[in-house]
């Protein structure tokens, strides 16, 4: 069955690791929808969070093959139910006298921030689930979006709740 998946991949921080990992996806015709790579507490490690869409069985195969890569330490699939998933966006929108109020209203609803104010545009920063980010974009569209920069999705397994 085809669906969205998020993989958290702990790797050794060596040159070429990203290419090795990405290569496994492309070799099987799997699109990487988003990818985030950054260091962890350990200097020698990086964590990659990859979100992708596709067949479950093929993903299982990719997971096994990721584990086979010499530089991959751990691979974990993070499901929606058991994890928190976040994405951050920067949007530059038109900000003239007629739209400013609307922008402030939207910002408040979405818990976003204005982090740069120019003569005719603002840059809004927001963090949230993919859904929330998508609807922010939809709502801002009529005001005139000039530019967008999004991070990939990052995710982490939720802590166990006490019984």
């Amino acid at each position: 069955m085809e669906k969205s998946h998020i993989l958290s991949i702990l790797v050794e921080n060596e040159s070429g690791v990203l290419a090795r990992v990405a290569g496994l996806f492309s070799a099987r015709g799997f699109n990487i929808e988003t990818i985030c790579v950054a260091g962890t507490v350990e200097k020698k490690e990086s964590k990659m969070i990859i979100s992708t869409f596709g067949d479950e069985q093929i993903l299982e195969q990719i997971t096994k093959q990721l584990n086979r890569l010499i530089n991959v330490i751990k691979v974990q699939e993070l499901t929606d139910e058991e994890s928190v998933v976040r994405q951050t966006i920067l949007v530059r929108v038109n900000a003239d006298e007629s739209t400013k109020n609307e922008i402030f209203r939207i910002k408040d609803i979405f818990g976003a921030r204005i982090i740069d104010a120019g003569r005719n545009t603002y840059i809004i920063e927001a963090t949230g689930s993919e859904k929330k980010i998508d609807s922010l974009i939809e709502i801002l569209k009529p005001l005139g979006i000039k530019d967008i920069a999004k991070t990939g999705q990052i995710a982490m397994q939720r802590s166990r709740k006490q019984a």
Binding site: V11, E12, A19, G23, E60, I70
Partner: protein, 572 residues
């Protein structure tokens, strides 16, 4: 050369060679060039410790190292220059990768400060070989060199083996640092599982004891893990019939009463019927390749599957597995034998359960043996049978790819592991001859035959000079049908005999060609000449090319047409 206790300052070139010695490397296959001149210069000082075989093409070096590794079980080592030297090895690396052969490939690279500059003879060989190596490295600091070599040999030879490439920029080979060879490797992210899970192993045994129609489906993993003896003991203990993939041939004696031949597209009738009718199949170091399974959704549809493999990613890849066992084939078989030692009574009564099954298999074998018809012209199958007879099944046989490969697999009865060297996964024409050279170097006392096609042999014929230079008495038997025979066969069967560019109208006179290289050339045109030519060749302690002019349009049968269940074989 250096005392263990002392630390010495050395150049990268010397560190490289000292490290190879620490890894017990005594032979490397290579070809010099600008980026590796420092290494080559140092190599002259190591003449007594490391034998360098100068090939005539870097592809030859890679295949020769591969053949050396397959025949000996050791890691094959290649040394080539940057750019074209490195890219020429790629087919050889991919060949080894597909068949899980342990190799270390050392490539020169342009100096560190020129990398990424489109410098002369620069190629991103690490990028190019990323998907066809088990792992690869580029050295950025001479201090990392020794550790990387240690790691490379460890990674290449453990777990599911494979080729590992180390790219060494020229400046590294002249930089100096102290040399201390690491004692151990620690790779946090690489820990192959050797011993199978106890519970899983118990499940396999209990299914086997119950099974009425079991089958052991063995692959190259049996040979890679040196498990032939354990496999034989195991099969005999429970009276389990065995069928093999191309890569598994030699893993179980072909003349054994429990052996029913090769599986798959050109497998025996019995092997393919056995797996189609079995109730429990234990795959041992095999990977359910599409050439073996035929139409996958109906493959062995009555069977439960157990799969023993060291590589978790090959388990459940193509077929759903009921009992996966991740582990080294030899270790797992040993555990099973130990467990069975306390169940000898059950083993005996389980043998009773499959008397009927073995009878059925023997009937199939009797009704549809591998066969061919003799005629006035030489039949390729007859040729292979004669090679088998005259070498008593004790030769190392390498093959090229195509019909020659399939006839060799069908009609030579492999007795010993590591006696068939063939490119199973990638199907590389041009593999067989350089592989035979590598095998002959690894096993100087064995008879080594390359069973070749007139097409394939021309893909690495230049290595004849190598064979002559090192006086390697490799025997090349060309099954000369003036066709790219396997292509012709497919065109005959599936393209209404439209032989599109598969006829080899012009080939060299192979006898004269052999002579031109300083080897010996022989020819046979009639069946009655075959034996004499082979005997003469075997009596000559030099490389010999035998040109066997064979029936032009002979086909390889049985054959499972693509997309058909493997029980749907075309017989002769």
């Amino acid at each position: 050369m250096i005392k263990e206790t002392e630390k010495h300052t050395m150049t990268g070139s010397k560190i490289l060679l000292e490290s190879l010695i620490k890894e017990n490397v005594d032979t490397i296959f290579g070809y010099p060039g600008g980026a590796v001149l420092n290494i080559y210069d140092e190599l002259l000082n190591y003449k007594d410790k490391i034998r360098h075989i100068l090939v005539r093409h870097e592809q030859g070096a890679a295949h020769a190292a591969d053949g050396y590794a397959r025949a000996s079980g050791k890691v094959g080592v290649v040394l080539v220059t940057s750019g074209p030297g490195a890219t020429n090895t790629v087919t050889g690396i991919a060949t080894a990768y597909m068949d899980s052969i342990p190799m270390v490939i050392l490539t020169g690279q342009v100096p560190t400060n020129l990398i990424g500059n489109d410098a002369f003879q620069e190629a991103d060989i690490v990028g190019i070989t990323r998907p066809c190596t088990k792992h690869n490295y580029i050295i950025k600091d001479v201090k990392d060199l020794a550790m990387t070599i240690k790691e490379a040999f460890y990674v290449a030879s453990t777990g599911r083996p494979g080729p590992v490439l180390i790219d060494i920029p020229k400046d590294i080979t002249s930089s100096v640092c102290t040399f201390e060879y690491p004692e151990t490797v620690e790779l946090r992210s690489y820990n192959p599982t050797y011993f199978g899970h106890h519970v899983q192993i118990l499940k396999v045994i209990s299914e086997l004891l119950k099974a009425e129609k079991p089958l052991l489906y063995i692959g190259g993993g049996v040979i890679l893990s040196n498990a032939a003896a354990e496999l034989k003991e195991f099969a005999e203990l429970l009276d389990l019939p065995v069928a093999s993939t191309l890569m598994g041939l030699g893993g179980f004696p072909s003349d054994h009463p429990l052996f029913f031949g090769m599986l798959g597209m050109h497998g025996t009738y019995t092997a393919n019927m056995a797996i189609s009718n079995a109730d429990f199949v234990v795959a041992i170091g095999a990977r359910f390749d599409d050439r073996v399974t035929g139409k996958i959704d109906v493959f062995a549809r009555n069977a439960k599957f157990a799969h023993i493999d060291i590589d978790p990613s090959s388990i459940g890849k193509n077929v759903k597995i009921d009992i996966p066992v991740v582990g080294d084939v030899k270790a797992v078989l040993n555990s099973m034998l130990e467990l069975l030692a306390s169940k000898l009574n059950e083993a005996a009564s389980s043998r009773q359960k499959r008397m009927k099954w073995l009878e059925e298999l023997n009937n199939w074998q009797y009704e549809h043996p591998l066969s061919y018809k003799m005629g006035d012209v030489i039949k390729p199958q007859y040729l292979v049978e004669k090679i088998y007879e005259l070498t008593k099944g004790e030769a190392i046989i390498s093959t090229e790819v195509g019909q020659n490969q399939m006839w060799a697999a069908q009609f030579y009865k492999f007795k010993n592991p590591r006696s068939l060297l063939t490119s199973g996964g990638l199907g590389t024409m041009g593999y067989g001859f350089p592989a035979a050279i590598g095998a002959q170097i690894a096993c100087p006392d064995k008879t080594v035959f390359d069973i070749a096609g007139d097409g394939s042999i021309q893909m690495n014929i230049q290595e004849l000079a190598t064979a002559v230079q090192y006086n390697l008495p490799v025997k090349i038997a060309i099954v000369n049908n003036n066709f790219l025979g396997m292509i012709r066969q497919w065109q005959e069967l599936f393209y209404a005999k439209r032989y599109s560019f598969s006829e080899l109208n012009v080939s060299p006179d192979f006898v004269k060609l052999a002579e031109a290289y300083g080897a010996v050339g022989l020819r046979a045109k009639k069946p009655e000449e075959v034996e004499d030519v082979l005997k003469t060749a075997l009596s000559i302690k030099k490389p010999v090319i035998m040109d066997f002019v064979v029936a032009r349009e002979e086909g390889v049968y049985p054959m499972v047409p693509p997309g058909v269940p493997i029980s749907g074989m075309l017989l002769v």
